[in-house]
Structures are given as C-alpha cells and as structure tokens.
C-alpha cells in the first residue's frame, strides 16, 4: 500500500473513531445523571449540604444549564485536560490518575507479554501436535483458563504462591523495577491466564486450519522445508485471525486489570475506579472510564490499520472468479 493511501486510510478510520469517542464521552458524562438522586448531592461528598455549597456546586458543574450545553461545557473542560475534582479531598482527578497510572501500565504490559508470548507458542505447539495427548492437555488448560476469571485465578495464585509457598508478596506494588516486577508477577499471571486462553484457542484453531490448507499441501508436495513452510505460509496467515481478535484481547486485559488490582490491593487505575464507585465519586469514575474507553477505541483503531497492512486482499478487493 502506498504511503499516501495508507495515511488516507488512517485518517478515514480516525474519522470513524471520533463519533464513537464522542458518544462514549456523552455516556460517561451522563453517568452523573443516571446516578440515583440529585446530581448535586452526588457531587457533595463529605461536605455539608448548606445552600451556598450547593449553589457553588451547581455553578461549577453548570447543573442548571440544559443537558446538551452541560455536556458541551464538560467536554471542553475535558479537552483542556481538566477531568474534574474528586469529591474526596477535592483533589484534581488528573492528579490521582497520574499517580496510579504507572502501576496499571506496568501490570498490563507484563500481562500482555505473558499473554502473547506463551499464548501463541502454546497454540502453535498444540496445532502441530493436534490430536496427541499434549494437544488435549493444552485444550483442556485453555478451557479452564477461559472459564477462570482473573479474580478467581488471582485468589488461587495468591493462596498457593503467596500464602502457602510464600514465594511472592501478596499485596502492594513494590518499588523499583525488579521489586515491582516481583510484586506484580502474581497479578500479571492471574490476569494473563484468562486472556491467554483466548489467544491459545485462536492461534491453535488458526494454525490447524492453515496446516490443512491446499497451499501448504502444495508447498510440501514441492519439497519445501518445514522451516520455510512455517515462516512464509503458516505463521503469516495465522496472524490474521489473531489480529482480528486483538480487540477482544485488549478488552479482556483492561477489564481483568480492574479485578486483579482489587484482589491484590494494588494502587492502580482499576482499583481507583472500584474505590470511586464504592464511594460514589462520580468525577473520578468519569475520569478513569473515559481513559479506559478511549484507550480501547484507539487500540481497536490501531488493530484495524495493522490488519489492513498485513492482508493485501483487503486493500485491493478480490477479483471475482
């Protein structure tokens, strides 16, 4: 694909993503209104509900304006980087998010590496040894993984490796790179297991399908080496279904992070969200939800672009037979 047409393509997909982001942002904004009770009281927090405070809140959040205008003002605030103020202690939401961002990023990155690396490898091995005991074991593990949500796996890992064996710490994020990695090992593993199951399943299914394809048989009949067949034929073609599922994987990791951070008491964005929910801290909820959602949308966009780049058939359209 030529450089300029690629840029055009990215622009077009971005254009599609923008209304999506707007709609999501509207939903996030509307949270304050779907919460039970008067929005003013939701924003009170620990302060006393005297008229002047209430009026101040009304003014700050433009609660007397018509809905769409409120939304507009809120949106412009957000675009300027102001995500509001937490109802606990009046701290800027952006500040709190910045504090917690590091842990979540570390956690999700670690998980992603665990998911993709061993996940694809296991799927590939299972595909090559399809039907053997090894394959059946991998498939069984996959089903277990898919059925075990991150918080459940987390609890088991916590108990076995944290409490019984005492190999890993059971709470806290750790300080410094290695220490942090050690602290986040169990949570990352818990998070990875449920998502890895999807990756293993898809990789295995994709490779089994590829290995049965006519062009692989033809390549074998021509005497090409297994190395060549693997690299040029099987792997490349198997990537496509995997990339298609990347969106699913990202969502799984993001959602799982929330559960895992709660389980292991990690000061990350996920735990922040849950904490804010329990305390009815709407501005904070809005901030983190917006961030997560925007992240997911952008990753999906990136995936779409990558997908178009690796499968030439999409670009040119197929020639009818």
């Amino acid at each position: 694909m030529t450089g300029s047409s690629l840029v055009l393509f990215v622009m077009r997909r971005l254009a599609l993503a923008i209304p999506l982001l707007l709609m999501i942002s509207f939903g996030v904004f509307a949270l304050i209104h779907i919460a039970p009770g008067d929005p003013v009281h939701s924003l009170l927090g620990t302060r006393a509900p005297d008229p002047s405070t209430l009026a101040a809140i009304r003014a700050r959040y433009h609660l007397d304006d018509p809905l769409l205008l409120q939304y507009g003002k809120w949106l412009s605030q957000v675009m300027r980087g102001d995500l509001g103020v937490s109802i606990q202690g009046n701290r800027a939401v952006t500040g709190t998010i910045a504090d917690r961002l590091g842990v979540t990023i570390f956690l999700t990155l670690m998980s992603t590496v665990l998911v993709l690396g061993p996940g694809i490898l296991l799927g590939a091995i299972a595909a090559f040894r399809c039907g053997t005991r090894l394959d059946r074991v991998v498939v069984a593990l996959g089903v277990f993984g898919a059925s075990s949500p991150a918080f459940v796996t987390g609890i088991f890992l916590l108990y076995v490796f944290g409490v019984l064996l005492n190999w890993f710490p059971i709470y806290g994020p750790g300080r410094g790179f290695l220490d942090r990695a050690w602290h986040l090992a169990l949570p990352a593993l818990a998070l990875a297991i449920s998502v890895m199951a999807i990756v293993v399943k898809i990789t295995r299914a994709a490779m089994i399908e590829e290995l049965a394809r006519d062009y692989v048989t033809f390549a074998r009949a021509r005497g090409l080496s297994w190395r060549r067949i693997l690299l040029a034929y099987v792997l490349r073609n198997s990537l496509i279904p995997l990339v298609t599922a990347a969106g699913l994987i990202v969502v799984g990791i993001v959602a799982g992070a929330v559960y895992v951070e709660v389980t292991f008491s990690l000061p990350g964005l996920g735990a922040l969200t849950v904490d804010a929910i329990q305390k009815r801290d709407i501005p904070t909820i809005q901030g983190t939800t917006l961030l997560f959602s925007a992240f997911v949308v952008l990753v999906n966009l990136a995936v779409d672009v990558i997908y178009t780049m690796i499968d030439p058939r999409i670009r040119f359209g197929r020639v009818g037979s």
Partner: protein, 280 residues
C-alpha cells in the same frame, strides 16, 4: 468456473458418541442445579445463621468448610449460592439470545436499511469495553443483582446479534432458501420454518457459552461488591466478604472460587462440544 465437490454421500449419520468429559460436565451442572433447587433441603446448616462469638474458623467436623467472619457455615452458603449462580446467567444468556435471534434474523435476511441500522448499533456496542461498562454502570446506578443481570443482558445482545446474523447470512444464499422464495413461500415462513431451525443448533451452543461468560461476569460484579445485596449467599459475594480471612479459613475463599470455575468450565465444555457438533 468453480465446480463444487463431486457428490459425497453421507449415508450413515454419525453415531452419537458423548465423550466422558462432557458427561462429567453434565454431571457437575446437574449437581449445581440440584443445589440451587433444593437449597435449604440439603444444606447442613442455615446459610444466614451468624455465630459472632465463634467468628471465622477453619474446617471442622461440625462445619465441613469452616465458618466465615460472622460465624456462618461456609458450606451451606456455597450450596445456597448455587441459586444466584444459575438464575441470573440463565436470564442473561436466554434473554440476550432471544432478542439477538430476532434482530439477527431480520438483519441477516432482510438486509438493506434494516440491516445497516441494526448493525450500526451493534458495532457501537461492540466497540465498548463490555465488562468495564458493566462495572461502571451497575456501580453508578446503584448495584443490585437484577440491575447487573439487565446490564449484562443488554451488553451481551450485541455480540450475540452478530453471531445470529452471520449464521443467517450463511443460510440465505443456499439453494433451499432460494427455492422456497421461488415457490412463493412467505418471508415469515422462510425465516421461522427454514432459517431458524438451521441456525438454532449453533445458537444453542452459543447460549451455553454465553451462560458461562455471564456467570463469570456476574460473580465478578458481586466480587466488587456491586452484584447481590450484602448478606446474600453468593459465590462472588463470598469472595468479596472473605478476603480478609485468607489466613484463618482459606476454604471460605477457595470453595466458592472453585465452584465458579467448575460450573463455568462445565458449561464451556458443553458449549464447545455442541459447537463442534453443529458447526460441522
């Protein structure tokens, strides 16, 4: 010009061979259903009776799974918890798929404007991070089991509609449907008597998979304190309540956790097996 494969006769229907694993899975589901239905009948103790003076104790002959922080018998709570573990997910899976089947049939068969409209909504919902939205919405609206069921049901409808629509699109160009059209058979008849019976089996497989996913998500919401009301015996809720007694009575955590996994695994196995059988 592509010539389809020259005739293969499938004279013998594949004999029904149910693997042992599936039988085992079915057994587990039956056991869980029994617990849900009989509940109090088979529980050794009341799941609500608190013994504050005793507090949390490890397993003992009297309390096979020990007691939790409020002195309640863990085993009874787990047995009782089967109810909330099954009822909600059934509503989610069946509800979502009923609506999804209707939407998918219309969208896939009628095409055109109806299809575009429905799929645009579906695509929007699919772009959202589902579990996260569930957490936030249920949390902000103010928890509750049935709120969670409703929110999950709505969220599941999107991917389910897409699944039904693809299945319908697979059937639509086939000659038996075209022959029905040529004979002048009505659209309603074609949709419900021709297409539906042929996409039905695969929908059933997905319902099982949806059930497992709903179970896990619902338990997750309870784990965060957002699902069932406090005090209700529920597997996810128990994980929320008993986190602090990990050292004194780990069974109070491991047993409900194990039940969640077992039930979800069984349903997933059954769903996968049905899928293999029907997807040919």
């Amino acid at each position: 010009m592509r010539v389809p494969e020259i005739g293969e006769i499938r004279r013998r229907k594949q004999r029904l061979r149910i693997p042992i694993v599936i039988l085992l899975a079915a057994l587990i589901i039956t056991a869980v259903v029994t617990c849900a239905v009989l509940g109090e009948g088979i529980a050794p103790d009341s799941p609500f009776r608190q013994r504050l003076e005793v507090g949390d104790t490890p397993p003992s002959p009297v309390h096979i799974a020990g007691t939790d922080l409020l002195g309640r018998d863990v085993l009874s709570r787990v047995i009782y918890g089967a109810k909330t573990a099954l009822v909600g997910p059934i509503f989610v899976a069946v509800g979502a798929f009923t609506i999804a089947t209707l939407l998918g049939l219309l969208s896939g068969y009628l095409g055109g404007f109806v299809d575009s409209a429905i799929m645009r909504c579906v695509d929007f919902m699919l772009a959202l991070p589902g579990p996260l939205v569930a957490i936030v919405v249920v949390g902000v609206v103010g928890g509750g089991y049935w709120t969670a069921v409703l929110v999950l049901g709505v969220l599941f409808t999107a991917p389910d509609t897409r699944i039904v629509r693809s299945a319908v699109l697979e059937q639509r160009p086939l000659p038996y449907i075209e022959a029905a059209r040529t004979l002048g058979i009505s659209k309603t008849r074609i949709l419900f008597l021709h297409i539906l019976p042929n996409v039905g089996p695969i929908i059933l497989a997905y319902v099982a998979l949806d059930f497992a996913f709903a179970l896990v998500n619902l338990a997750g919401l309870s784990f965060l304190g957002l699902g069932v009301e406090p005090g209700t015996p529920d597997w996810g809720r128990m994980l929320f309540e008993n986190r602090n007694i990990l050292f004194s009575n780990p069974v109070a955590l491991l047993l409900p956790a194990g039940m969640i996994i077992l039930t979800a695994v069984s349903m997933n196995l059954i769903g996968d097996w049905l899928f293999e059988r029907f997807a040919k």
